[in-house]
Symmetry: C2
Subunit: 445 residues, 2 copies
Amino acid sequence: MTSTPEGAPHGEDTRHHVVIIGCGFGGLFAAKALRRAPVRVTVIDRTNHHLFQPLLYQVATGILSEGQIAPAIRDVLRNHRALRVVLGEVDHIDPQSRQLQVTELGRQVTFSYDSLIVAGGAVTSYFGHDEFRPAASGMKSLNDALALRGQIFGAFELAEAEEDDERRQALMTFIVIGGGPTGVEMAGQLKELSRRALRRNYRRIDPHNTRVVLVEGGPRLVAPMGERLSRLTLRDLGRMGVEVHLGAMVTDLTSEGVELTKSDGTTLHITAATKVWAAGTSASPLGAHLAETTGVPLDRVGRVRVEPDCTIAGYPEIFVVGDLMALHDLPALAEVAMQSGTHAARTIRRRLRGDDSTRELRYHDLGTLAVISRFRAVAKIGPIRIGGFIGWLLWLVVHVTFLTGFKNRFGALTRWAVSFVGRGRYERALTGRWAVGGYQPTDSA
Amino acid sequence: MTSTPEGAPHGEDTRHHVVIIGCGFGGLFAAKALRRAPVRVTVIDRTNHHLFQPLLYQVATGILSEGQIAPAIRDVLRNHRALRVVLGEVDHIDPQSRQLQVTELGRQVTFSYDSLIVAGGAVTSYFGHDEFRPAASGMKSLNDALALRGQIFGAFELAEAEEDDERRQALMTFIVIGGGPTGVEMAGQLKELSRRALRRNYRRIDPHNTRVVLVEGGPRLVAPMGERLSRLTLRDLGRMGVEVHLGAMVTDLTSEGVELTKSDGTTLHITAATKVWAAGTSASPLGAHLAETTGVPLDRVGRVRVEPDCTIAGYPEIFVVGDLMALHDLPALAEVAMQSGTHAARTIRRRLRGDDSTRELRYHDLGTLAVISRFRAVAKIGPIRIGGFIGWLLWLVVHVTFLTGFKNRFGALTRWAVSFVGRGRYERALTGRWAVGGYQPTDSA
C-alpha cells in the first residue's frame, strides 16, 4: 500500500478544490453547476458511469442496453476542463485535515479538499435479512440489472426445457418485493414481457401462464403518490394479471421461493425461481463514517441529518446531497438529488464571490411518476393526479428530457417505439455466466 | 444423467424431421428456407442468439450493443410454427441409427433425425499455441467481444491512474494479430476510438498517443481482396497511424506483450496490455466427430470435405454447410454460409417432392468488404475493386441489408450516425469483472 500525492494536472493548481464523492444525480448536477466556477473539481465514483436509475428495470427486461442508461462519467463531463474523474472508492474522510483516503484502481491516493460534496447515495437494504441477498437480486446497480436480465430470460429457457410441471411453474413465477415505483414498474414490465414480447417464441411453454407476484408490506402501492393513484395502480396491475399482496411481509426467502406473512398472521408460501428485491434501500456506509468523524446525527435509515443549506453542522465546507441526505423528510428521488447537488454547487460559487450568507435548500416538487404498462402510467404533479395514457405521455416527456445526452434520448425513444408500439426486446442475449435462483442448468443434469 | 425422449409438440409429429446444428448464418438460412416445407425442424445451438459476426468488432469497441448483433434465435424464427429451438450442445452423432445425443441445459436428450444439417461453424485457433489463449482474446463470440470491450475501456482507465511511464504506455498499446478483414477493422476502430471518441475524456493521458499495432504473418493485408486493395488498405491504415507489421509471426505472447519474428529472422518485442487474436480459426470439433463416425475426409484446418451438393459421401441425409464445410476452396464467409444453408434446405424440399436428383452448390460471389475507418472501406465485387468513400457506402448498404430484423437495422443505423458523424460511443459502461491482461487493478496496489 503506497500513498501517492495527487498527480498532474491538479498538482500545480492552487484554485479552490471541490471534491465530489459519487456521480449519481446529486454528484453529476453538482459537477455540472461548477463548470464555469473558478474551481478545480475531482469527481470520485466506484464505477465509470453515471446511472439513470429510474430506467434500470428496462435494462433488466431487455428494452434498453446498458450504455443507454449509463453514459461514461468522463464523457458526460468532458468539456469541464478543470475537472478530473477518479475511478475509486473512498476509504476515509478526515474532516479536520480536510483530506480523503481513496483506493483508486487498487492504489492508495490522498486527496485534499477545500469543499467536499458527499453524494454517496443509497444501497439495497434487506432490512436486517442479509441472508436473502444471494437469492433476491437488488435493483440499484447496472450489475444488478444485468444479472436480473440473465435470470429472467434464462428462466424462460429453462422452463422450455423442463419436464417436471412443478419446476416449470416455479421457473415461470416471478416475485417482486416492494410496491414503490421500482417494484410496480418491474412487475408491470415482467407481465408485458410474458404477454407480448415473448409471443410465439416457445413451443412447450406458454409465456401467458407466467405468474407475476407483487408483494408490499404496507397497505398501499406507490403510497407517496396518494390514495387515488394507489387505487388506480392496483386496478391497472390487476387487469394485467399481476397478483398483488398488500400488507404482506417477506418472512423467509430462499433460492426455492418466499414465505409471506400477512397482517392477519396467516402465512403463504410461493415457489419461484426469480425474486426481485425492490423493497428498500439504506444510506451508503459513508453516512455512518461521517457520523463517526464529524459527530453529525443520522436518521433511522442511516442518512445524514444536514443543516437547511445541506451542510454538516460545524463543517460548512462539507455538503451532503441526494439519497444520503436527511432534510425535511424529503423523499429519495432523482429530483431531490439534482436540486440538492445544484444547491451545494451554487453555495460554493457564492462563497467564492465573497457572499457567505446561508441559503436554505428550497425543494421544488416536480412530481413523481410510475409506469404500469405500455401506454399507462400514474403521475403526481403538485396537487394534480393523473393516470392512464396522459400519465404515460408525461412519463415519456419527463424521461426523455432527463436522460443524459442527446444520443441517449434519441436511442431510448427508438427502443421505446420498438418495445411499446412493436413487441420486440433488443437485449435478450444470454452471455457469460447466467444463473436462475436454485434452478441452474447444472442442477437439473 | 437421465435420457428423456423428445417432448411435445414434436413427440406425436410424424413429418420428416430436420435437425439443424448451429444457428449462425448457415443454420439460420437453412431454417428460414424450410419454413413452408412439410417438415418439422429442430435447431440446436449452444447460445440463445444468432450472431452477426462481421460486426463483433463494433460491440468490442462500444458502438453497438450486444442485442443489436445478436437477436434471440427463438424470436427470429418465431413464425416458423413447426420449428423448435433447443439450447444445448451436441455430444454425439450416430449416423447409422440417425440419432443425436444432446446436452440440453444440463440434461441428456436423444433426438432422431431424417435429415441433418451440420452448421457448427468455426472456433478461434491459436495455431498450436494454446498457451496464448489466456492473454489474447479471440473475436468469435459475444463473450469474446464483451470481454474485449471491458479490457479496452478498462485499459484507458488504468492508464489514466498509472504513475509509471512504461506501464502507462503498455496500457495504451493494442496489438491486433491477423491482417484479414476482422483484424483490419478492429485496428482501424481502435485508432478511431482513441483519436475521436475519447477526445477530452482524460486529464493525465492523451488518447492520441495510443499505439495500435497490426501484425500479419503473410506479405499482404486482406490478401483475398487482391493486390490493389491490399495496398490501399495498408496506405489508409498507415495514414491513420496504425503500425503495420507484415511477414511477422507471433512467436511468443504473454500477459506482458508479444514477440514477433520477421521473415528475415529478426525478432521484435512489443509490450502491450491488450492483445486481440484475429489471426485464424479452425473448424468446430464436430468436423472431427463426423470424420470418426462417417469416415468423411477433413481438410487441413479440420473442415469436412463434402460432395458438390454439400452432403457427406455415403450419407445423403447429412449436410455440412458454412464454415465447417470444405468445398471448392470456398472461403469462410457469411455469404458462403448463407448460400450453402439455403442449398441444403432446398435439396431436402426437392427430395420430399420426390425429386432425388443431385444439384451442386453454385456459389454466387457477392463480394467481400472491410471497413478501415469511418467513411473509408475496401470492397471487392466480382471483377470490381472499390476503395474509399464509395467502398464505405457499399459496406453500409450491405450490412444494413443483412442485419437480421428491421429493428436491428434501424438501431444500428442510428448508432452509426452517432459514432461516425458524431464522435460518441454508446457502450462504455464497465460492469462485472473486467480485466486488462497482466495489468489488473489489484496488481497495481
